[in-house]
Amino acid sequence: MGKSIVITSGKGGVGKTTTTANIGMALAILGRSVVLIDADIGLRNLDVVMGLENRIVYDLVDVVEDRCRLDQALIKDKRYRNLMLLPAAQTRDKTAVNQEQITKLVEGLRDEFDYVLIDSPAGIEQGFKNAIAGAQEAVIVTTPEVSAVRDADRIIGMLEAEGLNDPTVIINRIRKDMVKRGDMMDIDDMIEILAIGLLGIVPDDEDIIVSTNKGEPIVLNNKSRTGEAFRNIARRIEGEDIPLNNNGRGKIVQKIKRMIGIS
């Protein structure tokens, strides 16, 4: 049985979809079979970020409503054959599916894939509840902003209420220069508030905008440091002990290691 992981955040625009695409692609590069589910019904984006929009014939709602078989709706990635996408419907809304249907779908996919990654919509309403139904683990994406961290904290509480304990966090769009000047929340501050394991740190990078617009996740670029950050996250998900590269701020690294229990 594979593992199901939901990628969520509460706040919109922090990079859930980009993170899902990149982690999924990185796991596929490592040779794992991966399926990405876009649970953002009515506002689908994952297909665009993956560069697979023009291949969509059936979607998640078609599967749930029995208009097609699951394998008809799964889109094979054009670069890695072991990576699939189940797109969301665009002309429907969150009420088109319910939690039982998603749970059943995810359970079925876990039989066939090593990883089932679910891209959650922003918010805490039904779309979020659908996305976390069927997930065994949760990864929270946040940015170094007070509002994003506040929302992440709210989400951690809601995940606990749904029985999803011990989520991990990815801190996205960190700018080391600003942190150094004291103009940006640093990782210590954020982890102190959230008090959960740190899965990875992703730098702010304008190449991400180019890569999402082109539909080519940045992990495909071997030279990119941001791609490296996502590849490291994938390896940590695989259970490898990859140190968090945080500009030699040893104290923090130690503290984080202690937190996620690897030292």
Partner: protein, 211 residues
């Protein structure tokens, strides 16, 4: 559930349903909710529906009406007696006037019509435009899904002042936008099926455009 032969036929300007004499009320209701639910082809379609009356009582007719209206309230329902039915050969070979819609379609918006469709406006990425016949867009198709001849008519064509949808379908044939290069700024084009594939041609260079 075994599907007894219930047929929906499109005539000039309406749909007609012929329930077989042995169909039960619950089978008929299940059929209608399947056909007219918010996700099927008839989603948001406005049309008239004639149901050949098998001799149901008033209460049963109300139940049938509610089932359909509950799924699509735009459908006008009429029960007609079998003797009022026009034999298909009597229907004159006349094409229904195309539906004209003056608006643009944004992401997530959808329109579906039974016959030909003229859109005066643009089609944006994420929108869906579906028609039983031809689709003519006096505007730019810069993305989205354009599906002509949805019931399997491969004679249907798609015209637009700029034709660059994310995906195009005619009948059951599918064509998708190229992964790499953009098809913008080419000018009026028409798409139709030739030898089992969708071919896009420059409308002005076709000759018939100049005639």
């Amino acid at each position: 559930m075994a599907n007894k032969e219930i047929e929906i036929k499109g005539t000039l300007d309406k749909l007609r349903v012929h329930p077989p004499p042995d169909v039960t009320l619950s089978e008929l209701k299940a059929f209608f909710s399947r056909k007219f639910n918010s996700s099927g082809f008839f989603q948001g379609v406005k049309c008239k529906l004639d149901i050949i009356d098998n001799g149901w009582d008033v209460r049963e007719k109300d139940e049938i009406r509610e089932t359909i209206k509950g799924n699509n309230e735009l459908i006008e329902i009429r029960f007609i007696r079998p003797e009022d039915e026009i034999a298909p050969k009597d229907i004159p070979k006349m094409k229904k006037a195309p539906e004209i819609i003056k608006r643009s379609f944004r992401s997530g918006q959808r329109v579906a019509v039974l016959g030909d469709l003229i859109v005066i406006g643009d089609i944006n990425p994420g929108a869906e435009v579906v028609a039983g016949g031809d689709i003519i867009v006096f505007g730019k198709v810069v993305g989205g899904l354009v599906h002509a001849g949805v019931e399997g008519n491969e004679e249907a064509s798609i015209f637009a002042l700029e034709l660059a949808p994310t995906q195009m379908r005619i009948g059951k044939i599918l064509g998708r936008a190229p992964d790499d290069r953009s098809r913008r700024g080419i000018g009026p084009e028409v798409a139709r099926v030739k030898n089992g594939r969708i071919i896009i041609e420059n409308y002005l260079a076709r000759g018939e455009g100049r005639r």
